[in-house]
Amino acid sequence: MSILSGLGARAAGLFADNKGPWGPTGDDGHDSPSSDGDSGGPWGDPPKRGRRPVNAPSGSPVSFEDFLRRSKARFGSGGSGFSGGPDRSIFIWAGVALGLLWLLLTTVHRIAPEERGVVTRFGRYSHTLGPGIGLTLPVPIDKVRKIDVENIRAIDLGTTGEETLMLTGDQNIVDIAYSVRWNIRDPELYLFELAQPDETIRQVGESAMRAVVSGFSLNDTIGEGRGDIETRVQDVMQRVLNNYHAGVRIQGIAIKQADPPAAVNDAFKEVSAAQQEAQSYINQARAYALQLTAKAQGEATAFDKVYAQYRLSPDVTRRRMYYETMERVLSNVDKTIVEAPGVVPYLALPDIKKAPPREPAQ
């Protein structure tokens, strides 16, 4: 505190010209300290310090002044409030420091890499600061608004929870949810050209999606056409927003959901069930075909091999095959040899009876 008051004393000396705007000095200061009696700084008070009698015989200006002084003392120099000299000079220094700080804060601007600073001079657009440190005139003259241009914002249109219905080109209805990703391309246009930029982008997004979907069939919308729809919506939105000079770039559209409405979903499931079923028909037929052709090829090849041998000596092979087959057949069955004619054989039929009725022909 003593250092401060010393400083204060010196400062007071600087401004000691007795002619401060706030007026009359020389009112009796009984307890005036180091910085003494007759200096009236520009802010300041005459050295008549606080402990004046409250009922001083003075006009209203004086009591106003008194009030000012007291309040200053109270706010400014805290504890030493009523002890004279220091309070005045502290205000001066504080004022100078505040001024410098304000100058520093409003002239030097740090623009982050993702930002641009839009400078307006008395409200008129002057230039745009790139990333780094930018210098401008102080605040009432130049104002800087920092805009994040790299940040990609997303607007969700239509939620996956509730239905957002749109009419497709073939007059069907699709439930669609998508998001628009955008960022600011020209911060000055973004700031000054549209009254409600975000709302505008949302509305244009809705409108563009509706317009594009109405050019596609339902099957394309819920199927392969999605990518196509996304790029077209992006084009339309960009064109419309450029027409508004919005200063916005549409980065992309993402269709999160494109389904038939819940009311007809069962019928759509029926279609996919039918597709599965048809596929299984075809698979079964293919399996049959494979089996059949393989069998045919096998049998044909076997015949070809035998035939090739048969060609070498047809008679012998034929007889041989005949005997071999008959051997196998007859060795396996009951045989009865009957000298005919004239002999009526006794036919023992128990074996025939034993035979199951389903094979009577044998």
């Binding site: 657009y125 409108s207 075809i282 036919l347």
Partner: protein, 287 residues
Amino acid sequence: MIELVRRRPLLTGFLALMLLFVMISSFPIVPETKQAVVVRFGKPVRILNQYKPNHLIGGPGAGLSWRIPFVENIQWIDKRVLDVDMERQQVLSTDQLRLEVDAFARYRITNPLRMYIRARTEDRVSEALRPILGSELRNELGKRPFAALLSPERQGVMENVRRGLDRVARQYGAEIIDVRIKKADLPDGTPLQSAYDRMRTARLQEARSIRAQGAKQAQIIRAEADAEAAKTYAASFGKDPGFYDFYRAMQSYQTTFIGDGAERPAPTTIILSPQNDYLKEFTGRAR
């Protein structure tokens, strides 16, 4: 002067404040987003920062300006692109189908003076344009069949609406940049339900046709396989039909009497005559 200050600090403070106020109000700051009509005793005398089509921002209009304090009044008017939102409208197409349409228009005040005289505020311009947007849209869309309403952009319908609305907007010193349809939906109730029904039946029909197609293809595949097999057999067996007959007969006997391994046939009794070809050597007679 100083004496005066010294004697009447309150008065001089007040005067200084007044002076400051007058200074500030005589040099108004015109931002980029506003245009202004300067009105002297109710009579418009000057326009500040008027919109010019090819001069977007950073033009000479914005910035520090001046006016005579207390005499001239400044009416601020938005310079940016503004929005008119229409309430939902039912549109009847030429083929008597209904569609609920939700649209918006974007406009800009290009003639602030006319706008100030006719409407005073931007809100009133919007108020005035809103019903006209609705009726223009209804008129224009009502001339088309339903199918055309789904994509009105294509036939230049929206351009017609824009032009019609623009004609009115010019009277208010505004210019319509764009009219767009935000939503076009079938009204709730019967139209929506019948659309659902149509979709449902179309799907069921599709399902049935997919099944039939599958069955058809399966049948074709089977038939082709049969044909292929027959061809293979014919190509092989056709080389010697006589031998095939013998060969197949042998196979057949074996299968019939012995079985093919999978199941054994029922026991069989064969009665042979000694004249049988198989037994021809049995009698030992010479050939």
